[in-house]
């Protein structure tokens, strides 16, 4: 069964450093998402991406964040200058278009620890 993959599984970085989180969505999917979950809190939507552009972003997704689909398979989330409060689990998801609601398939997540 196809699945969403994410690398790395755990990233430790120092405050102020740039990080890139990588995701490989399911191959025939066209909609891509990033979510994050700070320890003990809700899973929160960050951004959605379709047709090579951002379709929606949350208030969390400020100028420090960017997303890219550099080739036909990867989908990346970049945080330019990490802050302590960026420490969280980051989930990538993808979905295929259809006539009903889109079922989002999630990756296993990347645990980002900012020290």
């Amino acid at each position: 069964e196809p699945e969403v993959t994410q690398t790395p599984s755990h990233q430790v970085t120092q405050m102020g450093q740039e990080v890139i989180l990588r995701c490989v969505p399911i191959s025939n999917h066209l909609y891509f998402y990033w979510y994050r979950q700070i320890l003990g809190q809700k899973v929160e939507f960050l951004v959605s991406f379709y047709n090579n552009e951002i379709s929606e972003k949350s208030e969390i997704f400020d100028d420090q964040f960017s997303v890219e689909r550099p080739d036909g398979s990867n989908f990346t989330l970049k945080i330019r200058s990490t802050k302590l409060e960026d420490s969280a689990m980051y989930f990538c998801a993808s979905s295929a278009p259809g006539t009903g609601p889109y079922e989002q398939y999630f990756g296993p997540g990347t645990r980002l620890t900012v020290t």
Binding site: V4, Y31, Y33, Y35, Q41, K42, V43, E44, F45, S48, S55, E56, S58, F91, A93, S95, G100, P101, Y102, E103, Q104, Y105, F106, G107, P108, G109
Partner: protein, 112 residues
């Protein structure tokens, strides 16, 4: 604003007990509702979804949920839980643009 609330933060049950996890949402439009499960160390997996039709939805692993529009609820149920159901359960509603809006999650611990 769209939101989802799950009433139970942590539920502890013995095997064979019945389960009901509460979920309420606030969203004025057509609702698409989901329950996801996250087993320890694993990714979020879809248990079941509702978008129209029969308000009683059956999902994988013996789970079901009932959409009650008048109560803005989508509670998850299972008649008899197993130790392997130990996990965190998330209710979600599909918001504008396709994003999912999650509740805070309910941790279920099933004692053997």
């Amino acid at each position: 604003a769209q939101s989802v609330s799950q009433h139970n933060h942590h539920v502890i049950l013995s095997e064979a007990a019945s389960l009901e996890l509460g979920c309420n949402y606030s969203y004025g439009g057509t609702v698409n509702l989901f329950w996801y499960v996250q087993y320890p160390g694993q990714h979020l997996q879809l248990l079941l979804k509702y978008f129209s039709g029969d308000p009683l939805v059956k999902g994988i692993k013996g789970f079901e949920a009932e959409f009650i529009k008048s109560k803005f609820s989508f509670n998850l149920r299972k008649p008899s839980v197993q130790w392997s159901d130990t996990a965190e359960y998330f209710c979600a509603v599909r918001g504008q643009g396709g994003k999912l809006i999650f509740g805070q999650g309910t941790e279920l611990s099933v004692k053997p």
